[in-house]
Symmetry: C2
Subunit: 256 residues, 2 copies
C-alpha cells in the first residue's frame, strides 16, 4: 500500500540536520510555497517569510518562518467596511491550523524535490525578536520556522506510535498499561536502534533534585519528551506576553 510516489515521499520524510551549500533555485522555492497555498484553509491566515542571508541552523541555505497572519485579513476586511470582531483565541485556533497546513505542505513539497527540512519550534517564544527582524505588522505571529536545503545526510525515517495507538474507530479505547508500554517500547527501541540521541549529542538536563540515571545507552524518546513537558514552560506569562505584543489578546473579548 506504499505504491504511489506521494505516499513514498511522505513515508520517507525525516528531519535533516546537515545540508550542502548548494543553493535552491527560485522556481523551486516558488513551487514549494505555491503547493503550500493549495492546502484547505479556514481563511488563508498565513504568511511565509524567507531568509537566504546569514547563517541558519544546521547550515541550511533557506530559513522559512511561517506566520499566523490576521493582518492581511484585517486589511481586506477594512476595504469591505468590516472589522474583525471574532475573539483572538478563535482566530488563533484557526490561524495556527492554517499556518501549520501551509508548513506541512511545504515540507512534503520540498521532499518531493529532494530537499530536506527541519522545523525549529522556538518561534512562538522569540516572536517579538523575529517581528523586529522582519518588520512584521501587528497581528502577524511567527508560529514555526523551517530550514530547508539539499541534505548532506540520509538518516532513516524516525519511529512513530503504533497505528493501534493512533487510529481509533467509533470509540477511543481504554488504553491499557500494555498498550502504553508497547507504544513506549516501539518509540524507545526505535530511536535507540538508530543511536539518535548519541548522534545528536543531546540529553535534556534534569532540573531540581532529580539525579541523572540515563546515558546514551538508555536515554530515548519517552524520557526526552518527559523532560521537556515535565520541566519546560511552566509559566503562561511568556507565551501570553509574546502573543500580546503581536496583537493577540486571548484573555478578553474583542472590542465591540
Amino acid at each position: 500500500m506504499s505504491g504511489n510516489p506521494t505516499i513514498q515521499t511522505m513515508l520517507n520524510r525525516k528531519s535533516i540536520r546537515r545540508y550542502t551549500d548548494q543553493p535552491v533555485a527560485d522556481e523551486i522555492i516558488h513551487a514549494i510555497v505555491r503547493a503550500g497555498q493549495q492546502a484547505p484553509f479556514a481563511a488563508q491566515l498565513y504568511s511565509v517569510l524567507l531568509s537566504r542571508k546569514g547563517h541558519h541552523a544546521f547550515g541550511a541555505p533557506l530559513l522559512f518562518t511561517i506566520c499566523v497572519d490576521a493582518y492581511k485579513l484585517a486589511r481586506i476586511m477594512e476595504k469591505r467596511h468590516w472589522q474583525i470582531v471574532s475573539n483572538d483565541l478563535t482566530l488563533l485556533v484557526f490561524g495556527i491550523q492554517d499556518a501549520a497546513l501551509m508548513a506541512e505542505n511545504m515540507v512534503t513539497a520540498g521532499e518531493s524535490y529532494g530537499l530536506g527540512s527541519c522545523f525549529l519550534g522556538a518561534a512562538p517564544y522569540i516572536a517579538e525578536k523575529i517581528a523586529k527582524q522582519y518588520k512584521l505588522p501587528p497581528r502577524v505571529f511567527p508560529l514555526v520556522q523551517l530550514v530547508m536545503g539539499y541534505p548532506a545526510e540520509n538518516p532513516p525515517p524516525r519511529p512513530r506510535y503504533p497505528l493501534e495507538f493512533t487510529l481509533f474507530e467509533d470509540t477511543y479505547p481504554e488504553l491499557t498499561d500494555e498498550m502504553v508500554e508497547q507504544a513506549m517500547h516501539q518509540m524507545d527501541e526505535g530511536y535507540l536502534a538508530q543511536d539518535y540521541y548519541r548522534k545528536a549529542g543531546y540529553i535534556i538536563p534534569l532540573e531540581g533534585e532529580r539525579e541523572e540515571s540515563f546515558d546514551y545507552d538508555n536515554y530515548s524518546w519517552t524520557e526526552h519528551i518527559s523532560r521537556k513537558w515535565g520541566q519546560w514552560h511552566r509559566s503562561l506569562d511568556e507565551i501570553l506576553s509574546q502573543l500580546e505584543k503581536r496583537g493577540y489578546n486571548i484573555s478578553k473579548n474583542s472590542e465591540p
Copy 2:
C-alpha cells in the same frame, strides 16, 4: 516546475462536497494515517478518530476527527514518573500544530489515492459533544474533522492569494492598497469565474442593521470571510468553555 507527481497532487487538491458510496479499503485508510504519522511533530500530540457508520457530511463514507491528544503523553510520562507541568496554552500551541500536520498529510495522502476530502471546522465548538460520542478521555481535544471518500464531482482547484502576497523575503513589505486590492481581485474574480457560491447556494446572512446588497453575481470570497470574522464568535466564553471541559485551562498556570 510542476514536474513531479507529489507537487501535481498538491496543486490539484480541492475540497470535495459530493462523494460516491464506494467504500475505502482498510489498507488505504491505514496507509493514509501512517503517512500522516511521518510529519515532523513536536511530540506526537495527536489521535485520529474514525467513523464509518451513519451519515456523514456530503455523503462521505469516512469521517475522521483529528484531535490534539495530551492524554497519551500524560500516560507515558506517568510511567516515567513525570507529570506535565508545561502550561496548557503552550501545550495547545504545539498540539494544534501536531494535529494539523497530521491532518494535512492525510489530505495529501488521500488525494494521492484518488480520494477527495473536506475539512469541517466546527469541531472546537462541538468538542464536548464529540467527546461524549467517542468517549474521549480528558486532554483529548477534537480540533478538526475531515470527511473523505471517492469524489462524485471534479471542481477546479480554488483561487489563492498571489505569491507576492504570501512569500516575503527578508522584510514583510508595506502592503500598499494596490497590493491588497490585487489580492482581493484575484480571490474574488477567481471564485466568481467558478460560480462557487451560487453552486454552494450559500451567502452568509447579515446580522444587525446592515442591508443586503449582494447576490450570487457579486458575492465572493472576500465578502464571505468578512462576514465570518466580522460577525461570528465574538465571545471568548464558548471556546474557553469547550477547552476547559476537555481539560485545557489556558487562563492559569499549571499546578506545581
